[in-house]
């Protein structure tokens, strides 16, 4: 009898269960479930930090009732398809590097956030904000510009279209039995290259050549072909200025600059400078360089030179640079990038200057602290100290060893062949090497490089400010720094501009503490709800 009843009732179990499960949902009056969200991040060829960070952050987000699809993307595809290609599906967790010109807030505010900006891959568009960040660029009075930059950060903070999660920590490892003062940021500013061997290094032994154990070769010695100031070339060619760790631009080959009107900058060169072939560095060389760059529009320099109109000589050491539009970022992004080329070496060249092989032509001549000596592809680059430079280092030269893989760099440092290594080994590995070997020292160098959380601001659920806010509150920056980056990152501050940029960062933005419960409350208050499985549903329409 019981068996018969069971048999008859059997077909009713399933629908009954479904009704039972759906009852709470119906009671909360739920809308559609929020679908699984895709998180794109740099694939592991860029290191395991990105996948690990994306995982630990999404673990916390999943406590909001969300599901995720992890999507590793190779670096160059990420840049072409997501960063500038408009291909962000849902979310991305990725890093932008600590390039020297990113000490200017324009990159963080405008390039990553203005309507239609090329690198605004989060596809956020706020007309009022865009007007603010375009406006700040034109304010050449610095205190006034700082106020405008802070106001833009406040606006951004209130809306939260995306946010930074961690700031990158770089490391430098050096042989402290052979070298001292390797890590001093003076006279070369920290953000000039963060972890490159400094000019201030002093040898402690008779070996007066600083060997830099590096991963990669360099591409060229032609400043027209490469974005030189982020590369090796800045040792050979001088720029007009350098950025320091506080985000300020300080004199280098130029002793001063001033806006004589919003589109004219008067620049004065340092006295007594010489090129490596003995010729004097004059305003003619600077004017030649700027006008040539404007004429040739070298592709690699395109982002920095678009606003340059030309240059004219005032006297032997003074010249004016004309801009197409008022531009406060000229100081941080052009003065620190443009190399001074010797006119007498370049003016007679009839070929394509951008493609010129300066090494073959014997034309790798600048006025920088080192002279070019030799380059063996994929092996070594040798530079000799240029004793006539105004900041000539107290050693004889610099050698870059292109070792191609981390184990070789490790061996080079342990064998004493390499004197200094930076960036090329994981920071944790450098720290371990220094802990295990008393002749190696290690220093952590925090940077403005930032890991960002991007959302597709044109797509549900990210179009909803409440959803963005909840996600922001449930972002564990600490876990990302500790578990994702093994402690070699620091939780980022509020707003788009990194705290490491000192005066440009708006320190008045209140900290948003990590709080999943508070985030759930924000969602509940906005009408979201959860079904019996804990899955988040949209508010009922």
């Amino acid at each position: 009898m019981t068996a018969t009843i069971r048999r008859l009732a059997a077909p009713l179990w399933l629908p009954a269960s479904i009704v039972a499960l759906c009852a709470p949902a119906a009671a909360q009056d739920l809308g559609e479930p929020v679908p699984d969200l895709q998180i794109a991040y740099y694939s592991t060829d860029m290191g395991p930090m990105y996948e690990q960070s994306a995982r630990v952050i999404s673990e916390e987000w999943s406590k909001l009732g969300l599901g995720f699809r992890m999507q590793p993307v190779q670096f160059s595809s990420f840049i072409s398809n997501i960063m500038v290609g408009g291909g962000l599906e849902d979310m991305a967790v990725f890093t932008v590097g600590a390039d020297p010109d990113r000490v200017d807030p324009h990159y963080w505010l405008h390039d990553l956030g203005a309507c239609g900006a090329r690198r605004n891959g989060a596809k956020w568009c706020d007309e009022a904000y865009t007007a603010m960040v375009k406006g700040q660029r034109e304010i050449v009075d610095q205190p006034e510009r700082i106020a405008a930059v802070h106001a833009a950060q406040q606006h951004f903070y209130d809306v939260m279209p995306w946010w930074p999660a961690t700031n990158t920590v770089y490391g430098i490892l050096w042989n402290s039995k052979k070298w001292e003062n390797v890590t001093s940021p003076a006279p070369v500013a920290a953000h000039e290259g963060l972890v490159d061997p400094w000019l201030s290094a002093r040898p402690l032994t008779d070996d007066r050549i600083l060997d830099w154990a590096h991963y990669e070769d360099v591409t060229t010695y032609n400043p027209m072909a490469e974005e030189g100031a982020v590369g090796w070339m800045r040792f050979i060619y001088d720029t007009f200025a350098k950025n320091n760790a506080q985000g300020q631009t300080v004199p280098w080959a130029a002793t001063s600059w001033e806006f004589t009107d919003p589109t004219t900058v008067r620049i004065t060169l340092r006295e007594g400078m010489r090129f490596h072939d003995g010729e004097a560095v004059t305003a003619d060389d600077a004017v030649f360089t700027i006008n040539k760059v404007v004429e040739l529009q070298p592709p690699a320099m395109s982002s920095r030179i678009a606003n340059l109109a030309g240059a004219e000589k005032i006297d032997d050491l003074t010249f004016n640079v004309k801009l197409k539009a008022p531009d406060a970022t000229f100081v941080t992004t052009v003065l620190t990038y443009a190399f001074i080329l010797p006119e007498h070496v370049w003016s007679g060249y009839a070929g394509d200057m951008v493609a010129r092989d300066v090494v073959a032509d014997g034309a790798a001549i600048g006025s920088g602290p080192f002279k070019f000596k030799s380059w063996r592809v994929n092996e070594t680059h040798e530079l000799e100290t240029f004793a006539d430079h105004f900041q000539a280092p107290a050693y004889d030269g610099l050698r870059r060893l292109a070792l191609g893989q981390a184990d070789a760099i490790r061996s080079a440092m342990l064998a004493g062949t390499g004197d200094v290594a930076s960036m090329v080994l994981p920071v944790a590995a450098m720290s371990d090497l220094a802990a295990q070997n008393d002749f190696l020292d290690f220093l952590e160098i925090p940077s403005h490089g930032t890991m960002l959380v991007w959302l597709n601001n044109q797509k549900e659920p990210f179009t909803d400010p409440a959803f963005r806010k909840a996600l922001r509150m449930a972002t564990s920056k600490e876990r990302a720094a500790i578990e994702g980056w093994l402690g070699f990152a620091v939780p980022a501050g509020e707003g788009p501009v990194p705290t490491q940029l000192g005066m440009w960062h708006n320190a008045d933005l209140p900290t948003i503490p990590f709080d999943v419960e508070a985030a759930r409350k924000v969602l509940a208050d906005a009408g979201y709800g959860w079904d019996a499985q804990g899955r988040l549903h949209y508010p009922k329409k």
Partner: protein
């Protein structure tokens, strides 16, 4: 004979063309973008287009392919995107560096393998020498060459400190061609060369052993033995007749060496063409990678051709049709 050579040459051209074509399209359908790093640094779209045009990456794939083949026929492989100079200028010194470990490595591997293989083949069947010889060869053959490289590095460089573990010379030593004849260079050459020798040893050993085993029971060996000559000379007779497969193996192996030692170059940071090939692929430096693959294809095809021709010379039973 002439007809045969002509036909094989035509086939070789076809094979090289096919490899070149596959490589061309393979690089272009990869979802990577060689301008990505410049875009990340803010290059404008106009500048990017100008760069793509300069690099021959605009227009339809077919247009690019036709232009590429046209340039190739004129011996122009283009300029490396990374080094901004003609690819052969980059590759030429690297090829020389590679040959320094490839050729002696291959020859010594063959010679040593042949010697040990003869000894193993001539030893008592099922005896200790034969068993340990075969065991050694199969173990080495089964171990990936990067493991061999890393093991050598760990033992002879990191632990004992006898040899440097990377590069082709200490920084600041002799430059130019003279560097190849310095103690410093030989010191750096030792470990990678040893790795290449070990890499090639087992195949030679096994080939030689099976040849000797086959020959040792032949009548002519009995004849030599009956003459009362010493045992090692009898073995030499067997060895000489077992070398045919080894010599014909040597030619294609020479070409494969270039590909096979890529890993060894990476492990020992040897600045050769193999390491550069891997770097070029990861950097999306198409012209450099394509030229390196082209080089490999040509070498392999020519080596196979040479092997076939040599076979005829060495073995009168082979007839060309």
């Amino acid at each position: 004979m002439r007809a045969y050579i002509l036909r094989r040459l035509a086939q070789s051209v076809l094979v090289v063309w096919a490899v070149t074509t596959i490589m061309f399209f393979m690089f272009r359908v990869m979802p990577a973008d060689p301008t990505a790093i410049l875009m990340e640094r803010g290059m404008t779209e106009e500048a990017r287009q100008a760069l793509l045009e300069r690099w021959g990456l605009t227009g339809t794939l077919w247009d690019q392919y036709v232009a590429y083949l046209g340039n190739l026929l004129q011996g122009d492989f283009g300029s490396s995107f990374f080094y901004r100079k003609p690819v052969w200028e980059v590759l030429f010194p690297l090829i020389i560096n590679t040959l320094w470990i490839a050729v002696p490595g291959l020859l010594l591997g063959a010679a040593l393998g042949a010697a040990i293989g003869t000894a193993v083949g001539w030893a008592r069947r099922g005896g200790r020498v034969e068993r340990s010889g075969i065991f050694l060869a199969t173990v080495i053959r089964g171990v990936p060459n990067f493991v061999i490289g890393i093991a050598l590095l760990t033992v002879f460089s990191s632990t004992l400190g006898w040899f440097p573990g990377f590069g082709m010379g200490d920084p600041g030593q002799t430059t130019g061609f003279a560097r190849y004849f310095t103690l410093d260079f030989l010191h750096h050459l030792a470990l990678p060369l040893l790795a290449v020798i070990i890499y090639f040893l087992p195949e030679n050993l096994l080939l030689m052993r099976s040849g000797v085993v086959e020959n040792r029971t032949e009548d002519y060996i009995e004849l030599v033995r009956a003459k009362g000559v010493p045992q090692w000379r009898v073995a030499w007779h067997a060895a000489r007749n077992s070398m045919l497969p080894l010599i014909t193996w040597l030619f294609p192996a020479l070409a494969e060496t270039i590909a096979g030692i890529v890993v060894i170059e990476i492990v020992f940071s040897w600045p050769g063409v193999g390491r550069e090939l891997v770097l070029a692929v990861t950097r999306q430096d198409y012209p450099l990678a394509q030229a390196a693959f082209f080089l490999l294809a040509v070498m392999i095809v020519l080596a196979n051709l040479a092997a076939d021709l040599a076979y005829g010379k060495l073995d009168p039973r082979v007839v060309y049709k």
